[in-house]
């Protein structure tokens, strides 16, 4: 069945899902590289995928918890038993009229993911498997110009013209949690004469290649760009023609009135970037043929929506929408629905979240997925009874993970767990698995079928990719999609009347005239090849209620948030005396952050080919004040928790900040547990219990806190 040679499939060492080729020899995967029919790159995580596939740590059969939750003790069971446990509990929940108290935390690989279908058929919710990293960006772009971006649709660096500006603001594209061809495209654009500007409190690999590195106070992005917009508008340097044609009537005047006092001088005091530099950036923008912004970590701060709003405003007034070098707007290919389609939960009735007593606070929250962070609170309030998790690790990678771990062990007056069932599908041991009732062994991307349909992927020419098994699965591992199609057949046969996952994908693909077989023949990829620039010109409108760009968010008028606030996140504006440092938690190319595979991958946890420690980065100026030397072990403490960390002194970090890698520090699995146990989420408050810090409009504060450091 499995051929030797270079076979096209898709990487899944992180969520970027790059098209790859796997070299198979005698039924064994030997090598991996980027698929030249895609853009031909795979990063170090992708290369190390083979290590995940063949690790002795692979979970090989279903397991059931023995002993208390959190003890991490399991016994082997059959697949049939595992399916029975899930079916019984979900049926009971539905019969009790509490189907909505089921949440599946996952990363949908496609809008047509069969797991999502299963959840809809059940009447439950999904939350993305990672915290909603960039929900603020998505909502901001949707409110302003009606497009659905994702971090996967970064600016198209391959279209940046000579002289165009590529602005990275708290973004780590060289870390390849986006398509692995992005670093090359950025450097290619630079070689063509485009300019790279990196705004980041830490000097990282992007900064080392930048024409200009702008160190900034974390969370200062909104103020920086409001200062830039102020300068552009005050000096008539904006794209008047574009704004006259496309911005809703009256919005430019209101914007000008609002922004009049957001001068570079005033904004400089907030973001710490000198006013002269803010002006210099504005002038560069005015002279450049194009400018794009890509941001990620900065969008996760408590003021993420304000930053998203300022960012969208900047793109609009500079006319950088869907032009070469600007912000692309995705085009959606019409995948066919698999009839009959189960209806999703009634959001009007149930709300976007079930945060119990806090529900009325969320009237303005309109992100389309459940927040991930509500879980601990919802368990306490009896709003969450069954929780499934695939390809995510909430015990480690979500803010307030300590609260989450506590909540899943809470019991009611009868001595039963308040959360009645916790199921984890995983490839390797994960932190979350420790607390699971059922552990289902999942397949790696080398063993499974999967249709990746991501219209918001990096390259608009890249529509669909096929992940196909290239070798026999290890042990009894089954892909989660197959498991939930099977369970769907048992519980809701009307919605799961197709044979298997391959037939399901075939039906969907028919919408674009493709099939799994044709995709295989086509080198694993299909692209509509129709996306172009300035699609709004053909359409004559934007996808907003008015058909125009809406700079003023009138729906937030009653809460006084119709314009972006320049202030730093609330979390940074208080407690400065007790907690003098702002925690900056950053990403690296060696860690997927949410998945257990990269935590437990021997290659990615090797100092030679990956990274094996997570020290706290501190500027020598700060260390001197504290009397701390390089290599000292210190305590880092926030209002919510503390961790012990070794210090690494470096000139690369802005004074006043302490940097650690996000999502590090798993204790499960023999490779992961070798590294020191330092999880940034131990320091971040659980959002559900500190709702005053949340952006209730759709943004979420994932990473914001202040800390103190002492020996």
């Amino acid at each position: 069945m499995y051929e030797d040679g270079w076979i096209p499939t898709v990487c899944y060492q992180c969520k970027a899902e790059c098209a790859i080729l796997a070299r198979v020899e005698d039924g064994v995967v030997k090598e991996v590289k980027g698929n030249p029919r895609g853009r031909g790159k795979a990063c170090v995580k992708g290369m190390a995928g083979i290590t995940s596939l063949y690790s002795s740590e692979r979970l090989k059969y279903p397991m059931k918890r023995v002993g208390e939750r959190g003890s991490g003790k399991f016994e082997r069971i059959t697949w049939d038993e595992a399916m029975g446990i899930m079916e019984t509990k979900l049926t009971e929940l539905r019969d009790r009229g509490e189907a909505h108290k089921f949440t599946y935390s996952m990363f949908p690989h496609s809008v047509t993911d069969p797991k999502w279908r299963f959840v809809n058929a059940c009447g439950g919710f999904i939350s993305t498997g990672l915290p909603h990293c960039d929900s603020a960006k998505i909502m901001a772009h949707m409110h302003t110009f009606g497009c659905f971006p994702n971090h996967h649709i970064a600016p198209m660096y391959n279209t940046v013209p000579k002289g165009g500006l590529m602005i990275l603001s708290g973004r780590h594209p060289f870390g390849c949690l986006d398509d692995a061809c992005v670093p090359k495209h950025i450097l290619d654009a630079k070689a063509r004469g485009a300019k790279l500007i990196v705004i980041d409190p830490i000097y990282r690999t992007e900064a080392s290649k930048a024409d200009w590195w702008i160190p900034i106070k974390p969370g200062g992005d909104a103020s920086l760009f409001l200062g830039v917009c102020n300068y552009l508008l005050a000096n008539d340097l904006h794209d008047k023609e574009f704004c006259d044609k496309w911005v809703r009537e009256g919005d430019m005047e209101s914007l000008k009135a609002y922004i009049a006092d957001k001068t570079p001088q005033a904004m400089s005091k907030i973001c710490g970037v000198p006013a002269a530099d803010i002006e210099k950036l504005a002038k560069m923008v005015a002279e450049a043929p194009s400018a794009c912004i890509d941001a990620f970590k900065s969008i996760m701060y408590g003021n993420g929506m304000d930053w998203g709003h300022a960012w969208s405003t900047f793109l609009v007034i500079t006319g950088n929408l869907d032009n070469p070098g600007g912000q692309p707007l995705p085009e959606i290919a019409p995948m066919a629905p698999v009839e009959p389609v189960p209806a999703g939960p009634d959001l009007g009735e149930l709300g976007y979240h079930r945060t119990g007593k806090n529900r009325e606070k969320f009237d303005n929250y309109n992100f389309f997925l459940e927040p991930t962070w509500y879980a601990a609170q919802a368990i306490k309030d009896d709003g969450l009874k069954v929780f499934f998790a695939s390809e995510c690790n909430p015990a480690l990678s979500e803010m307030g993970s300590g609260e989450w771990r506590k909540a899943v062990t809470m019991k009611d007056e009868n001595g039963d767990y308040k959360l009645e069932l916790l199921v984890v599908t995983e490839i390797m041991p994960s932190e979350t698995m420790k607390w699971a009732d059922l552990v289902l062994p999942d397949q790696t991307n080398f063993e499974r079928w999967e249709l990746l349909y991501m219209p918001w992927w990096y390259n608009f020419g890249h529509g669909t990719a096929l992940c196909q098994p290239v070798v026999e699965p290890i042990g009894e591992a089954r892909h989660a999609n197959r498991v939930f199609i099977e369970l769907g057949k048992r519980m809701f046969p009307e919605y799961f009347a197709f044979k298997d996952d391959v037939e399901y994908y075939d039906i969907e693909l028919a919408g674009v005239g493709m099939s799994v077989k044709k995709l295989q023949e086509n080198g694993g990829l299909w692209s509509p090849g129709t996306a172009g620039f300035r699609k709004y010109e053909d359409q004559g409108k934007f996808n907003t209620p008015s058909g125009k760009i809406e700079l003023e968010w009138q729906m937030y008028k009653d809460i006084g948030q119709e314009w972006p606030s320049p202030e730093l996140p609330l979390e940074y504006r208080r407690g400065e005396e007790e907690f003098p440092f702002i925690l900056v938690n950053f990403r690296t190319i060696f860690l997927n952050n949410t998945g257990a595979w990269s935590q437990n991958n021997a290659q990615l946890r090797d100092p030679a080919s990956g990274l094996d420690a997570n020290p706290c980065l501190l500027n020598p100026i700060d260390a001197k004040k504290l009397g701390i030397a390089d290599g000292d072990t210190v305590t880092m403490e926030s209002g919510s928790g503390k961790v012990e960390v070794p210090i690494m002194l470096t000139e690369k970090i802005i004074p006043g900040c302490a940097g650690i890698i996000h999502g590090f520090g798993q204790t499960m699995g023999k490779v992961a547990s070798r590294g020191n146990w330092i999880g940034d989420n131990e320091l971040i408050a659980d959002a559900g219990s500190t709702l005053d810090e949340q952006d209730m409009r759709g943004g979420e504060a994932h990473v914001s806190t202040r800390v103190k450091i002492y020996k």
């Binding site: 170090v44 063949y54 490779v671």
Partner: protein, 184 residues
């Protein structure tokens, strides 16, 4: 003697180590059974240098593998004649059959790129993917480099290419076959 070379563009290397793992995969030097990367030797490594103080910084990254030296200090000390410089390619090779694992070459290599394989008890290092280049393919690290920082070919042609691109050959590192370049 013909000399095949790899050119490392410091303007493009981002220190991502993709090349290292790809090299391990291709040369089958992964210890899956023990999940123990420490015991696995690498044919190449990433180095970096940071200059300046906050906020005026400059950092460069580059890879170091066997330099396929002209004068082969490693071969000179090998008493059993296991290390040779291939006439056709200029690639320096270690003959596993001949190597007796004495480790002399490891001490003598100025670039510290020879590894000792404890399991098999012999010295090994980058062979510039001899199996591939003699079949007209690029070395694996060159093929997979995330940013196209590496290029492969005849040394003379690579030098001409660097000059045409306005790149400076970094002298202190370029006396051997691996050519390090950067825009001045």
């Amino acid at each position: 003697m013909r000399q095949l070379s790899i050119m490392v563009d410091l303007d493009r290397c981002i220190g991502c180590k993709t090349c290292i793992v790809a090299c391990r995969n291709h040369h089958d030097i992964i210890d899956h059974e023990n999940d123990q990367p420490g015991a696995i030797p690498n044919y190449l490594r990433v180095e970096s240098k940071l200059e300046g103080t906050f906020p005026s910084l400059q950092e460069d990254y580059w890879v170091v593998m066997c330099q396929h030296c002209k004068k082969t200090p490693c071969a000179k000390v090998c008493e059993v004649g296991a290390i040779t410089k291939d006439e056709q390619t200029g690639i320096v090779l270690i003959d596993q059959e001949k190597c007796n694992g004495c480790g002399e070459c490891i001490d003598k290599c100025p670039y510290k790129v020879i590894q000792f394989n404890k399991q098999n008890n012999y010295a090994h290092k980058c062979n510039m993917c001899y199996d591939r280049v003699t079949h007209g393919l690029d070395p694996v690290c060159v093929d997979v480099c995330l940013t196209d920082a590496l290029s492969f070919g005849e040394k003379e042609i690579l030098l001409m290419q660097a000059e045409a691109d306005g790149k400076q050959v970094i002298k202190k590192m370029s006396t051997q076959s691996i050519i390090y370049t950067k825009t001045p």
